[in-house]
């Protein structure tokens, strides 16, 4: 999978997530558009209509990038009206958004960004944390472009909110691209592997031929432990260095399905050479060692 293909897949996933949230606030008035990769040297906000209201939220833990949603001022006003149960015409033509309207829009953006982070977590298989969103108004496109720094990679998606043109931008750091490409490649490999762990289930689908979620391929990851250290420490690690993890050797390890905790179990070797995990407990269910299962 190429970098651009991976970026588009990530953009599609997050765009779908934010549109789901918007749809709850303004039912039937949200239309997602195509996701495109922003060309190198171009700014993702080029060509946005103004006046505009933009909300930006950054990733935390030192990773550069985040999510940016830009709407026309009229779009923000219509969204706020929908959220407050008013007709869009009731507030049309007002010189600027009231404090309550701005607060409503900021809250919608807040919830959208949290949803986008959740979608990114599902794609990357690692928990993506975000900071507190910041909402600003812009009277010119240049001012908006100057306000947000470019990242090595970005996607943009057109979204119609209450008939107004809006833009959802994902500013993607290099670290995510590497992780994402690998994660999506693994997912494709699993789906295409006829003799692999999927057993062809993703292609075959359910036996009765009816549509179902049962045939969807999911990514299963086993985690031995975690470590937290300053980024400077990571950069300075030489080959041969030992990084201690937060878990004892005799403790169970965690199993994640598409990035979400699913079970705990014991690491073991099968057939003399292959790693496997013996499931001891399923998250949310009482522990029962006697009914343990192995995942190779």
């Amino acid at each position: 999978m190429t970098t651009d293909e991976a970026l588009v897949k990530l953009g599609q996933s997050t765009t779908k997530a934010i549109c789901g949230v918007l749809e709850m606030f303004a039912p039937g008035q949200i239309t997602p558009g195509e996701v495109a990769v922003v060309a190198p040297g171009k700014h993702p906000l080029e060509g946005i209509p103004v006046p505009a209201v933009a909300t930006m939220v950054s990733y935390v833990d030192g990773v550069t990038g985040g999510y940016l949603f830009v709407m026309t001022a009229e779009g923000a006003r219509k969204l706020a009206a929908a959220m407050m149960g008013m007709e869009p015409d009731e507030t049309a033509g007002a010189p600027e958004l009231s404090e309550l309207e701005l607060s409503a829009v900021a809250e919608a953006m807040n919830q959208m960004m949290a949803s986008a982070a959740g979608a990114t977590t599902a794609v990357l298989g690692i928990e993506v944390e975000i900071g507190v969103p910041e909402t600003r108004s812009f009277m010119s496109t240049d001012a908006a472009i100057d306000a947000y720094a470019r990242t090595p990679h970005a996607t943009r998606a057109a979204v119609s909110v209450c008939g107004e043109p809006c833009r959802f931008v994902q500013l993607v750091p290099n670290a995510f691209v590497v992780r994402m490409t690998r994660a999506l490649d693994e997912a494709e490999y699993t789906t295409a592997d006829p003799g692999g762990a999927s057993g062809g289930a993703a292609r075959d689908g359910p036996r009765d031929g009816t549509p179902s979620l049962a045939g969807i391929s999911v990514r299963v990851c086993a985690e031995l432990g975690r470590a937290r250290m300053p980024s400077a420490g990571i950069v300075g690690l030489p080959a041969g260095a030992v990084v201690g993890l937060n878990r004892q050797a005799d403790e169970p390890i965690d199993l994640y399905v598409n990035g979400r905790p699913f079970a705990t179990g014991r690491l073991m070797v099968v057939d003399g050479s292959d790693w496997a995990v013996r499931i001891e407990s399923i998250v949310g269910q009482p522990e029962n060692v006697n009914q343990s299962k192995e995942v190779a």
């Binding site: 949230v21 409503a104 949290a114």
Partner: protein, 119 residues
């Protein structure tokens, strides 16, 4: 009927929660826009129940929850979280929150959580 303190950094969400609670027959005795204000208002008003947003400036909801529980181990607190904050919701329950509601939420869900926490 309960005396409720509503904490959220968004004025819009405070209004939504207040409207829902008022329609359900409860009295909103105060509001706060961040965790710092929440602690002050909690000590001042001694509410029967507090609704607490998780993501807020100055002091976030989890830190405020911890301090509220230290002040009053029997405090009834309901957390308000956005989608994708499952780990923080879990942590808040471990810290002593009685329940949580996920935004965007319906008024009925808020009232259900309040009824459960008071019961």
């Amino acid at each position: 009927m309960a005396r409720v303190l509503v904490v959220d950094d968004a004025a819009f969400m405070r209004k939504m929660v207040t409207d829902a609670l008022t329609r359900g027959g409860h009295e909103v005795v105060g509001e706060a826009g961040n965790g710092l204000e929440a602690i002050d208002r909690f000590q001042e008003l001694k509410p029967d129940l507090t609704t607490l947003d998780i993501t807020m400036p100055e002091k976030d909801g989890l830190t405020a929850l911890k301090e509220i529980i230290e002040l009053d181990p029997g405090a009834r607190v309901i957390m308000c979280s956005a989608l994708g904050q499952e780990s923080k919701v879990l942590e808040s329950i471990k810290l002593g929150a009685k329940d949580f509601v996920v935004k965007p939420f319906q008024a009925d869900r808020v009232l259900e959580a309040v009824g459960k926490a008071l019961g």
